[in-house]
């Protein structure tokens, strides 16, 4: 845990990190089951967004 972060905010970051990891895994896997092209595209957008968000969140936690 980074020492310059508050305890509560670290825990919130941890919660978001787990939540987004879950979203990313689910969107990535379930994309394979989707038939509608537009929905596939939306889910790919979600995968890209979640990956970017996770990397940013991680940066705050590792130092």
């Amino acid at each position: 845990m980074r020492e310059n972060l508050g305890v509560h905010e670290s825990l919130e970051l941890h919660e978001l990190l787990t939540f987004k990891s879950l979203c990313l895994t689910k969107s990535f896997i379930m994309q394979g089951l989707v038939k509608d092209e537009k929905l596939k595209e939306i889910m790919q957008q979600d995968v890209n967004m979640s990956s970017r968000h996770l990397k940013e969140l991680k940066k705050h936690l590792i130092n």
Binding site: E9, M30, V34, K35
Partner: protein
């Protein structure tokens, strides 16, 4: 596991709706989770990151909900129709688990 996937894909017309609904619920949860987390931040870089990600989450919620409205999965202006869609959804879920 493969049996479950076979069952799910067997209900082909429903699969997209189930997945889209899951994506919508995740998008809603993301907005709630980010908003709550922002109220607990003390460090300004953390707050900036979370606000930016919240904005992305709100934008994404618009994308998925508009898609669902276009598809008729989600009818915000017709409660009766929405109730029908929901009931159908519930029946499918019960059937999937009990077959």
């Amino acid at each position: 596991m493969n049996q479950i996937i076979a069952k799910l894909t067997g209900m082909a017309p429903m699969t997209d709706q189930i997945i889209a609904t899951d994506v919508l619920i995740a998008a809603k949860s993301a907005i709630k989770n980010y908003s709550l987390a922002i109220t607990e931040t003390a460090t300004s870089e953390v707050r900036l990151t979370l606000i930016k990600q919240l904005e992305d989450a709100i934008e994404f919620h618009k994308t998925i909900s508009s898609f669902m409205i276009d598809k008729g999965y989600y009818n915000p202006y017709d409660t009766n129709k929405q109730l029908q869609v929901d009931m159908n959804f519930v029946d499918q879920a019960i059937k999937l688990a009990n077959d």
